[in-house]
């Protein structure tokens, strides 16, 4: 850690960006895998959502929204452009930052797991709404799923994704949070 302190501020900043981007890439690469223990009813944890929550917990709503928007656009590219994930993840980033957890709750692990649980349900609900709105007559472009099917499927996905994501949340949150805290500390020591 002392070596980090001695680093030039600019180099430290670049290292910080590199670690952040590497963590996003790591989340992207785990997304298509289904390792044993990471699957419930064929559904895996929502790694990008966990990352967005970890990022937004101690940041401003604008930063949270932009992170959610970017990761949502990337996830669109990996699956299908419509319905978009950018909306749900941006809302998740915004709300997580608005909660201002550190002001009310000091304790970290369980509260983050709870936030991830709630946000996972919210994100799946937003996507389910996007699926069902064309049904209500705004655009008749997706005649594939009936309303009953969408919401039955939503129940299953939202529950298993929320449980798995909240269980795996510390695996992403803990190292990232430690890293960002150290970077902040180093920055303040220098300023």
């Amino acid at each position: 850690m002392i070596s980090l302190m001695q680093w030039n501020a600019q180099h430290r900043q670049i290292l910080n960006y590199a670690v952040t981007i590497a963590s996003v890439l790591a989340c992207l690469f785990v997304l298509p895998t289904r390792l044993p223990g990471m699957e419930l009813l064929g559904v895996g944890p929502n790694w990008l959502l966990i990352w967005v929550v970890a990022w937004s917990v101690k940041r401003t709503p604008l930063q949270g929204t932009i992170a959610g928007l970017s990761l949502g656009l990337i996830q669109d590219g990996l699956t299908a452009l419509q319905p978009t994930h950018a909306l749900s993840l941006a809302v998740v980033g915004f709300l997580t930052a608005r909660i201002q957890k550190q002001r009310y709750i000091q304790e970290d692990f369980i509260s983050v797991a709870l936030i991830v649980f709630g946000m996972a349900v919210l994100a799946e609900t937003i996507i389910a709404l996007q699926f069902s709105v064309p049904r209500l007559g705004f655009a008749a472009s997706t005649p594939h799923r009936t309303l009953a099917e969408i919401w039955f499927y939503h129940q299953r996905i939202a529950l298993s994704s929320a449980i798995l994501s909240s269980l795996w949340a510390p695996a992403v949150y803990y190292p990232l949070n430690r890293w960002w805290e150290r970077m902040n500390a180093a920055e303040q020591a220098q300023a």
Binding site: L25, L28, F29, L31, P32, T33, R34, G42, V43, G44, N46, I66, A67, L69, S70, L71, G72, L73, I74, Q75, D76, G77, L78, T79, A80, L81, Q82, P83, H85, E124, I127, F131, S141, T142, P143, H144, R145, E149, Y153, I157, S161
Partner: protein, 262 residues
Amino acid sequence: MYTLRRWWDRHALRVGLISLALSTAWLIRQTQGAAIFETYQVLTRPFQSGPTRAERLENAQLQELQQRLLELESQNQRLRELLGDVSNRSGQEVIAPVIGRSSDHWWQQIILGRGSQQGVTKDAIVTGTGGLVGRVIQVTSNTSRVLLISDPSSQIGVTISRSRSMGYLRGQAQNRAVMEFFDKVPDVRPGDVVSTSSFSQLFPAGLPVGRVESVDLRKSPAPEAVIELSAPISYLEWVIVAPNPRSADELSIPDAGAGDAE
């Protein structure tokens, strides 16, 4: 002007970073994540295991059956040629490992470790042991993405092999699908074999799809049957990718997105 300048001096880096993040994300979206899938394929290469001993024995048995089938097929072909029916089947099949599943929960997709360099093309037909699996919707140089037939957006014209009752199939996630019949009173029983019909615009006719599990004739607007897909969609490890004989001629699909049906 001065305040604007000061604001810019202070926030230039932040604005730059935000636009960089958003434009990178947009780029990845527009390229359908090609770079990410390519890297993923390289990263997972050590984990793409070869077959175990039991599987090899099974494979040998399977091969024997396949060879017999091949023999029968070629006899069949010759008989058809005698009758004047020229089939345009090209033998360019690619065997591809399944290296990943869908990156979110709403789409039923798989990612294959073979791409355009190995001869996979868009709209190619993907089959596994047991029957039809899906259709290639996106190809990069070393990976390809397949929309499974268990996805609700992939609708396929199918027929009951025994009675030729026609209908179309809608995926229901996992290894179930619902078949809606065109007739009011279709001739169908549990246990009947379902295969793709000649009405299907995306798939060639006659590919095995599954087996009828239960029938609901009173369903409105059309009678329905629940189909158990015969390919083990949830445990696929290797699949066979064959070029689509239909895509060569008149087929034109509007968009790459997973949302196209027929």
